[in-house]
Subunit: 332 residues, 2 copies
């Protein structure tokens, strides 16, 4: 038997489809299409949407138009638009959109030093030093630091299995940085950046983090690289996790996946990225957990996203449809 | 917290890719390709493979060559080849291959009368009468009845949500038929034929069946129509379920899905069918549960299956690859 008494009554979903999706699509995706997708997402009941990434145009050409996109958005009252950045230049760009964006700071840490070196080109110690500077830069701009985000928290293509102690160390490093700066962390995000998690590991890692920081909510950022994403989300919900990052349609992909995994379909060369928003909404609503999201409206937006990127997206729910549509048809 | 103490130490997997896959592919798939895929599957460590369906050539043209396929198979010692049939004609064809096939009888029942009428063109009472005749026919051929299989056990496109009481009634009807014929049922298979299950419902239905027939193992036949299949499998494992039907690559599809769910990609017009074998094997092995299957060999066969059907299959694990391959590369 399962003890599922910790399953939350409400899931807080952060939609990251625009940011994750448009940064990895071979594109180019028209600026107008990005704006259209974000506007459509904002009408589905989603309350937090990550709309862009303020990063180097050279490294991420898909987000060269981040300023244009955000400038064109009109934020609905009930929706928070958020963005991602990793350095002072990105922060400065984000600050220019303070009217539209809901801004706060995140301390980014990494559970695997090999991934830190490979992806960020610095050691863990160097990353901590950089995060101290970034924390200061946020404070100089009047932004609170609210979140610690741990990359590679469940495994790493470059170092293999990640010991739980290394996740706790990464969170602890972030807590030290926050504490020194007199910031109060409201959320610990654990990212399965490369799709190594399984339900047993979710239980182990989330349990250890909750044991150590029992008063701080845990967020899960799960990738569906190998098809276990939704099972991992369910395992997280059973641990009381009530906040998740997802992408509509499963937009995005895994930039770390080896070329050998390509299969024979060039359009789906990369494994899936994040878990699909509509699959998590479906999981939750069928279990009686509220999300505030209209599943059928969201599925329609997922199909718009497929049309914008010009190929099918990984989400099965996009093809299978919701069950509410069947129930409605049967009672009418 | 979850109580996961019921998770089995070993999963018995029945591979149904050849039967489910080739019956639904627009094809035609060459007989030699079917044989090649079955032979490849038999070398992955899988111990039970459903190799064909003995059904009407008119209704299922994809299995017109069932006799030719089975005639060409050479059964390895450690593998059982099984087949599917629904009437006396199919049974007679199966009996012709008794040297190759492992034969036993199943009582097929349905939890939703609307599905029974729509799919089998008979009421539940008529289906029970047909199953009494079929049981007799199996006994006349010297075959034991070992299994009750309940279709639409978690919901129905034609009647909506299926009450647990209706599942219990379907199993009970099958038990009555078996009892009258002095047959001893060894397994109760619950099929999520149309992809309506969620983890809470799995817990509820499997729990009720286990409460009522505590000494008979439950098998789950799960479809991934809406992306929740692997979460449902995990929920089943947490309930102690140790046997599952799956298809390599997620071969198959949902013939009951409405046309409106097609999305914009004609090659992936149908939602996924069964849960993918390699995703269940990955889930199990990453959780420390044995399956006897070589995940990397299985993924290779899944890619062969994609090549045979001429399009990509739904499985994410086919693209993401296993984690064991990373671990091996990192330790070498």
């Amino acid at each position: 038997m399962m003890n599922t008494s910790n399953i939350p009554s409400y899931l807080h979903i952060t939609e990251e489809g625009p940011r994750e999706g448009f940064q990895i699509e071979p594109g180019p995706i028209a600026t107008a299409d990005k704006i259209r997708l974000i506007n459509a997402l904002s009408e589905t009941g989603l309350t937090t949407i990550q709309v862009c990434s303020f990063v180097s145009e050279r490294l991420v050409p898909g987000w060269a138009d981040a300023d244009d996109v955000v400038s064109a958005l009109i934020k609905p009252d009930k929706v928070d638009y958020v963005a991602l950045w990793f350095n002072a230049r990105g922060l400065a760009r984000a600050m220019n959109h303070a009217d539209t964006l809901t801004l706060s700071g995140t301390i980014h840490t990494v559970a695997s030093e090999a991934f830190c070196v490979s992806n960020l080109n610095r050691t863990l110690a160097e990353n901590n030093a950089a995060m101290r500077l970034q924390t200061k830069a946020h404070q100089d701009n009047g932004l609170a630091i609210k979140k610690i985000s741990v990359m590679a928290a469940f495994g790493c293509n470059f170092s293999g299995d990640v010991p739980v102690a290394d996740v706790l160390r990464a969170v602890s490093d972030g807590m030290d940085i926050a504490h020194e700066a007199s910031e109060s962390i409201r959320e610990i995000a654990l990212a399965d950046t490369m799709g190594w998690a399984n339900p047993t590991l979710i239980q182990k890692v989330v349990g250890a983090v909750k044991d150590a920081w029992s008063d701080i909510p845990v967020r899960l950022h799960l990738h569906d690289t190998r098809g276990l994403g939704i099972a991992n989300a369910y395992a997280g919900m059973c641990m009381g996790v009530d906040r998740f990052d997802t992408t509509v349609g499963g937009l995005g992909g895994c930039p770390f996946a080896a070329k050998r995994s390509n299969g024979n379909n060039p359009q789906r060369a990369l494994p899936p990225g994040n878990i699909a928003t509509e699959e998590l909404v479906l999981l939750a609503s069928e279990m009686g957990v509220e999300t505030g999201v209209d599943i059928d409206a969201l599925i329609d937006v997922g199909r718009q996203a497929e049309s914008i990127v010009g190929h099918s997206l990984p989400s099965a729910a996009l093809r299978g449809g919701s069950l509410s549509s069947y129930r409605r048809a049967l009672t009418n």
